[in-house]
Every structure is written in C-alpha cells, then in structure tokens.
C-alpha cells in the first residue's frame, strides 16, 4: 500500500514539474515587452479612466485629437492633422477648428470622421452614463459644428477664453460611431440637447447600448483607433495588448513619435510589492520596472550581475515634494515666520535619505529642468537654523524661559509657536521629512507634533483648512502653467489648501494663463516665482526623479518625466526576451 502511495506521489510530482517547465510565462515571443504594473487598471471605460494603469491602456488603444509631448513641452497633433485654429467671436466663446488625419481609420476600415467626434461628445453628455468626470473636465465644450464640405473638419464651440481650453478640447479618446450608434440616430440630436429634459428616446437608446457593451470590463467591445487592442485581461493579474496587424498610422512615413508603435505585444503584469517586482525583473520575468523605489534602484545599479542584464534610466519628473503652510492659521499669517520655518528643512540630506540622492532641489514650483521659465536667480533651499531664529525674532516671536517661542496675538494673549504637521499615513518619505523637520525645530525650541493621517481625512482637513502644516507631493506638467487651482483666491476651499492669495499673485496667475506671448510668459513666470519665494505659502523641497530599470534585451526604453515614466509603444525590442 505504501509503495502504491509512493508511486502515485512520484507520478503527480513528475506531472507538476513537467507542466511547470512548460509554463508559457517564461517564454515570451519576439517583439513582446513585459511591464510591471503596481496596480490593476480596474476599470477600462474610457469615460472613467480612474488610475495611471487605465490611462496607459486608454492611450494605447484609443487616440485623442491632441497628445501632450514632453519633448516639445506642448500638445502635438495626434488624430488631428495639425494643431487647431482658434477664433474668438466674442468675450465668452472660443471656436476651435480641427481636421482629422485623412489616413485615420477604424478597425473595420471606415475612416475616422467628424461624426465620430460628435458622437463621442454626445456620449460624454449622455444621461445615465458615468459622465461626471467628463462633465467636470470637458463641460466647457458646448457644441460641435460639422463642416458640410469636409467630413473630417469640425469646430468645437467652447465656453470661456482660456488658452488652456484649446489643448484640453483635444484631449479625450475618440469613440467609434459605427459601434455606438450604428443606425446614426444621434446625428439628428444636437449636442446641447443631450442633457435637456425630457431625455430623448435616441439618447436613452445610446445609454442602453453603451451599458450593454460593458466597456468597463470588456474594453474590446469598443475598439479605438489606437495601435493596440486588449486581447487578455485577468483583473489584478495581467493585461495583454496586441498590436493591430494593420494600423492606419503604419502608412505614414516617417511616422511622428506620437504615432509610433513597435512592440507586437505588451504584457502588463500586476505585481504590487516592489521587492517581488525587483526579483521578477532580475529573473527576467518582466522587462520593465518603472517608478522603482530609490533604494532598490541604487542596489541594482551597484550589482555587477544586474549591470550586465539591465539598463538603468532616470527621468526628471514634474512631481515635487512640498511642505505647505495653512496661512490662515494665526502663527503662519506672516511670511517671515513661514520663511523661517522653511529654513529648517535640510533638503540635501532629505534628498540623500529619501531619494538616494536622485532628486533636484528647486527654488520654486517650476522644475529647474524647464530652463526658460525657471528663475535661476533665486537661491536654492538651504538648511539654516540660526538664520531661522533671526527671522523668527524679526517676526515678533520671543523665546521664553521655558525655551518655547511666543508672541502677543491681536487679542493680547500670548500666541505659542506650536503646531502639527500632517501627512499621508504609511508614506515613509513624508515621515522622514516630518521627522527631520521636527528634530531641527525642537533644537531651537519649536514644538512640532507629527500627524500621520488617512488620505480622505487629510483631504477633508486640507479642504476645510483645519490642518496647520502638511507635507505632500504635487504633480505638474510641462504643458500648463496655470496655478489658479493651487494658489489663486478662487481655489480656496478646493485645491488651494494653503489658503494663500494676494491681489498681486492673483493678478500674476491670471496674466500667466491668459498670455500666449512666450517672452511675456517667461517674464511673468519668473516674477511669480520671485513673489512665491518671498511669501512661501509652501516650501518646495525637491523635484522627484522617475527611475526605470529595464532588461537589455528590449533595447533602449524611451523614458519620460510624466507617468508612467516610459513610452511603451516606442520600445523597440532588439531580440527575444528570455
């Protein structure tokens, strides 16, 4: 009996090993690039796109009219033939005219036309669908006028005059009319009529058709005109994008960078843990690991074995770490106090401790990498506790016998320089920054309490103005210099969590966003940085670097300072990955 059990056991073991050895995961085809994702896209409905993974898939399967390109620091034509022409018929309207590339076609061979753009806008305004975000972002597009003489030309009627609207008006995925409205019933319904009550039968039918397609879980039901299609998706495991055999942009010679797509297959593996992902990269189970933690990246760079099999890249991002002051708190009302506290951050030490030296210190909220706009005459942040003491004294603070700082308040009572510093709980970088600041502050007698806080609670506190000081990362981009949400008086109660505003900065922000003259914009931006360096509503600590490690077998990886940190479609695998 025992012998029988032993034999059965051996047969099972042999079967397991045999099948394991034939695992398809270890033998990718040539042209395949395997990329690590920390998070599943969760929802691939182009109307929702709620995280970076979903955004990446949307950009590979669909095309927008325009695409932001980091290399030119602006939007470039993607599905559009060229940058749109703009007319301003009055003070409140903007007419943005596009023409779609004549080569652009859908998967069934039919051309991408202005009717597809009109239908997409109608979907984005269709009651019953998850259109809230689209309404918030693209609600300024009030109508679309089709050119009767040219099926590819159309004009978007936009509310408002902001130059930002020109670029935003071309930044949504175009959906196919032949799938969503095969009988072309919606052509008779003007865009402004979509949201009017009572809801028209054709609009109800569109909502039902869209919901029936279950795009959130089955993106293949609404194929875009991008180079890839989703061919496999196991939620929280992997997602595979396959290159279309015939994609319309293949006919373009030479194809501009935004219309290049080389890998035949992109396999995204969802691996939440960074240590596991590093191991998978070193074993050759994945080819690209982007946004790698600084310590892991430095360790791999120092390993002789890993230097042989991996390439290492860094890209200066537009994401920056800040310490923000709630300027409506009495102790942070004056700029001198804020400047003094800003001197207690040891930025070079923090860059070394949290980023392994891989970050750029900055004098302000524009990346030093953007040379024309960065105000390089401003000094970089310095760690100067003695100077901080002098500044505090200038601000009216006096150190008492207990060693703590006080000053008389408007009511006459003594105001104590004691505050809390809030940051997202479980974020080691923020915690290190807060600890360093507290240590420096305590040495000169300032009592600081650390307040790690759950994300939604922190958001509420920041919005309501109950947080005193906070540490956060802010994301920027090289296309837009609109600081309205962050620092304008109109942003208070929403994104302006410092609650800072002055008539001068409000005016500067408005001038920056409304000017299209590059020289004037440069001058205004430099002045704005100078004012910010004086006022210090938040202290910019450093701009982060994105770190990417990739297998040598896939060749050079085009990296980017914008998330996800690489351009997957432009990777040119040089040999079969093993």
């Amino acid at each position: 009996m025992q012998q029988l059990f032993a034999r059965v056991y051996l047969v099972v073991l042999a079967g397991v090993l045999l099948t394991a050895c034939t695992s398809p995961a270890s033998s990718p085809n040539s042209g395949t690039v395997r990329i690590r994702w920390a998070r599943d896209p969760e929802n691939l409905d182009p109307l929702i796109v709620s995280n970076a993974s979903a955004y990446e898939v949307a950009n590979l399967t669909h095309c927008s009219l325009l695409m932001g390109r980091e290399s030119v620091h602006d939007f470039v034509p993607w599905l559009a033939e060229e940058f749109p022409t703009v007319q301003r018929p009055n003070d409140s309207l903007l007419l943005v005219t596009y023409r779609i590339r004549p080569e652009a076609t859908w998967d069934n061979g039919s051309p991408v036309l202005a009717h597809d753009v009109a239908l997409t806008l109608k979907v984005m305004n269709c009651p019953g669908l998850p259109i809230e975000k689209d309404q918030a972002v693209y609600g300024f597009i009030r109508d679309i006028q089709l050119d009767s003489a040219d099926a590819r030309r159309f004009t978007l009627v936009c509310q408002g005059q902001s130059p930002e609207h020109i670029r935003t008006s071309g930044d949504f995925s175009i959906l196919p009319e032949y799938i969503l409205d095969p009988k072309k019933q919606l052509r008779a319904v003007p865009l402004p009529a979509m949201l009017r009550a009572p809801i028209l039968p054709a609009v109800q039918a569109l909502a039902q058709r869209y919901q029936a397609l279950q795009v959130a879980r089955h993106p293949e039901n609404v194929p875009g005109c991008g180079p890839y299609t989703v061919t496999a998706w196991q939620s929280n495991r992997y997602l595979t994008l396959s290159r279309k055999k015939r994609w319309w942009a293949d006919a373009l010679a030479p194809a501009p960078a935004q219309l290049q797509a080389y890998p035949t297959k992109l396999v995204y593996q969802v691996i939440p843990d960074a240590a596991t992902a590093t191991l998978a990269l070193r074993r050759g189970d994945v080819d690209v690991f982007a946004l790698m933690p600084a310590a892991e990246f430095a360790r791999l760079q120092q390993s002789a074995e890993d230097q042989k099999r991996l390439n290492f890249y860094t890209a200066d991002s537009y994401e920056f770490a800040t310490a923000s002051f709630n300027v409506q708190q009495p102790m942070f009302r004056d700029a001198a106090t804020r400047r003094a506290l800003g001197l207690l951050f040891d930025v070079p030490a923090l860059i070394k401790a949290t980023q392994q030296g891989g970050a750029l210190p900055s004098a302000g909220l524009i990346s030093p990498r953007i040379k024309p706009y960065y105000n390089d005459s401003l000094p970089l942040p310095t760690f100067a506790p003695k100077q901080a003491v002098t500044l505090l004294q200038q601000a009216g603070w006096q150190r008492g016998a207990t060693g703590q700082w006080t000053r008389p308040s408007k009511t006459g009572a003594a105001e104590l320089l004691r505050f809390g510093i809030s940051y997202r709980a479980g974020e080691p970088t923020f915690e290190t920054i807060a600890l360093q600041f507290r240590a420096a502050a305590e040495k000169i007698g300032i009592v600081v309490e650390l307040r790690p806080t759950e994300q939604s609670v922190l958001s509420r506190q920041l919005r309501e103005g109950t947080a005193e000081m906070s540490i956060r990362n802010f994301s920027g981009n090289p296309f837009s210099y609109d600081f309205t949400s962050l620092l304008h008086s109109r942003g208070i109660g929403a994104d302006n969590t410092t609650r800072f505003s002055t008539p001068l900065t409000d005016r500067l922000i408005e001038q920056i966003t409304s000017t299209e003259d590059a020289t004037r914009k440069t001058r205004l931006l430099r002045k704005f940085q100078r004012v910010m360096a004086q006022e210090v509503p938040f202290k910019v600590l450093y701009f982060l670097q994105y770190r990417i490690a990739a297998a040598r077998s896939i060749g050079q990886v085009p990296v980017s300072g914008l998330k996800p940190g690489y351009e997957a479609a432009r990777i040119r695998p040089v040999q079969t990955a093993q």
Binding site: S23, N43, A136
Partner: protein, 346 residues
C-alpha cells in the same frame, strides 16, 4: 428539542451577522467622508473658475453611488434635535438590496460585488484550502509521530516555536529570496499567477500548483506551528491518563496508543483552532497575496478599504464574518460529535 436548539443557533448566527454588517456599514460610512474621496477623483480635473461644475459633478457622483441621502433613519442636529428620514436613507437602501441578495456595485470596477468576490475566491480558495489541508496534515502527522520520540519531539517543538515567532511577511520574503532568486535557487516563480492562457487545459492545474508552491509554503509554515504546539500539549496530557497506561499494558504499541487512543481525545482542544482556520480560508492572506501578487480576497478587501470602495469592503468583510459564525456553529457540532458529553443546548 435538538431541532429547536439548532434553529436557535441559526437564528442567533443570522442576528449576529446582521449586527456585524450593520455596525460595519454605519461605522465605515460615518467615519470616512465619501465626499472627500469623490472630490479627490475630480481633483485637478477642473479649472477653479468652473468650481460650480465640479460641485455639480461631485453631487452627481454622490447621487450615482447613493451617498446623497442621510446615513440612517434618524440624525441629530444641535439646532433642531432628532430628525426622522423614513426609508430615504443609505442604510435602508443598502439593507433592502441586501435582502434581495444584491451586494451592490463596486465604485472602482463598476462591476457587481458578488462577481468580484467570486473572482477573488477563485484564486484564494485553492491557495488557502491547500495550505489549511497541509497545515493540519503536517501538524497532526508530525506531532503524533514525534509525541513518543522525546529527542525528535524536543527539536520539533523548538522549530515550531521559532517558526511561530516569525512574522508571515518575513517567512514569505525569506522563501521568495531563497527559492525564486537568481542569486540563490531559482526554482519557483517570483510572482503568483502569470498567464496560463497558452497552456493546454490538462497543464493548467499543474502550472497553478507550481506557481502556488511558495505562497502555500508560507501559509503552512506560519499556521502549522500553532496547531502542532496545541496538539502536542493535549497529547502529552492524554499520555498521563490511566486509559493510555491500560492500552500499553494490554500490549498496544506506542504508535497505536497515540494514533488509536490518545489522538481522538487530544483533538478536542484543537477543534477551536481548526474552525478558526475556516474564516481565514475565505479571507485569504493579504500579506501573502501582496508579496506573491495573487489576486485573492485579502488583497480585494485591503484595496477596497484603501480606496474606500464601500460595497466591496462590506461584501468582503460581511462574507468573512458570516463564515466565522458558521465556523463557530460547526465547532459546537464537532464538540458534540467528538465527545458525547457535549450537547448543543438551547
């Protein structure tokens, strides 16, 4: 009488389940601000000059998720006192849909919660069931075999105590770095389940077993010491009883005495530990699932908590709470089966 007792037990379990999920619902909704979360999703999406648009969009989102009504039947306002809202409240709506077997829709995935739970269980159950089976087998087998071998038993207990003192994440990472590392032994995959789509149907269970080896080993190594130490203590206690001396005097070998006579009585204290395993089987292990990139229940619930996806969070935690109550009920029955002196009493 026994039927009545069973009915009472079931009614009590149902009541306790309702109480647990209700408290969970009210606590999760009352302590966390859904509006902040929704505002975050729209953050940077709009120009502040269109702040009205953003507020409208937030309201629409709250309405779509059913979060724009009062939380409970009554609310307290310092100015007006208690206010009664009738059936127009979030709790009533949620309880009504729950009574119809509908766990709701995930905010993030826009998919039915039941479907997401089923998907996660599809990955969790093979992992945890296999781990539980191996843990129990290893604990019972090794403990009984070594119970009458003093030297082996001593070393075995040392090992069990050492393993028990190690946190699960350390065990899992240790196994990963030892058996999935190109610098050490690269025998197993570094992350859980890669695509098996290209494999033949007959190959898929084998591939899955291979891919689950390290996660299962982590769970077994972390869960079997507690079972083994408990069982060893109970067995040694049984060996001091007169009936084992009688068995030995009648010529039964040490092995036969342990397996046939002492084990049944020694299993009694183990029943509680074994039934404790049941909710863990359903809940999965967030540590192992994150480290080995397995899309199971642990990760689903943890992600839902992180992203404040309330329907998924309540569905997952409610299921685990229900299974825990079932496990306690089963423990009561098992006690009465193993020892007739125990009876389920009303």
């Amino acid at each position: 009488m026994r039927g009545q007792a069973l009915l009472w037990h079931m009614a009590r379990a149902a009541g306790a389940t309702w109480l647990i999920v209700s408290v969970l619902f009210l606590l999760s909704h009352a302590t966390i601000d859904p509006e902040s979360q929704l505002r975050d999703t729209l953050e940077n999406a709009t120009h502040p000059s269109e702040a009205g648009q953003r507020a409208a969009a937030t309201q629409q989102l709250l309405h779509r998720y059913g979060l724009d009504t009062p939380l409970f039947y009554t609310t307290w306002h310092p100015q007006v006192g208690w206010q009664w809202h009738g059936g127009q409240n979030q709790y009533h709506a949620w309880l009504t849909q729950l009574a119809h077997g509908n766990l709701g829709y995930s905010y993030q995935a826009d998919a039915p919660v039941a479907e997401l739970l089923a998907q996660a269980l599809h990955y969790t159950l093979p992992l945890t069931l296999l781990a539980a089976l191996l843990s129990v087998s290893a604990a019972v087998g090794l403990t009984v075999v070594l119970s009458y071998r003093p030297v082996g038993r001593r070393w075995f207990l040392r090992l069990a105590h050492t393993l028990q003192s190690l946190p699960l994440f350390l065990l899992a990472l240790g196994l990963l770095l030892l058996f999935a590392n190109p610098d050490a032994l690269s025998w197993f995959p570094a992350f859980g389940l890669s695509s098996t789509a290209a494999a033949e149907a007959w190959q898929q269970p084998g591939i899955m077993l291979y891919q689950l080896t390290l996660p299962v080993a982590s769970l077994v190594l972390s869960s079997f010491p507690a079972l083994a130490i408990q069982l060893d203590g109970a067995l040694q206690q049984e060996f001091t009883q007169p009936y084992t001396a009688t068995a030995r005097a009648k010529g039964a070998s040490q092995a036969r005495t342990a397996w046939r006579h002492a084990l049944r009585n020694a299993l009694l204290p183990l029943v509680t530990l074994l039934t404790e395993l049941l909710p863990s089987i359903v809940a999965g292990s967030v540590v192992v699932e994150v480290i080995f990139a397995l899309p199971g229940m642990g990760r689903l619930i943890a992600d839902a908590a992180l992203q404040q996806d309330f329907p998924v969070l309540l569905g997952g935690v409610g299921l685990v709470a229900f299974v825990r109550l079932v496990a306690q009920f089963m423990a009561d029955i098992l006690y009465s089966v193993l020892d007739p002196r125990f009876r389920i009493a009303a």
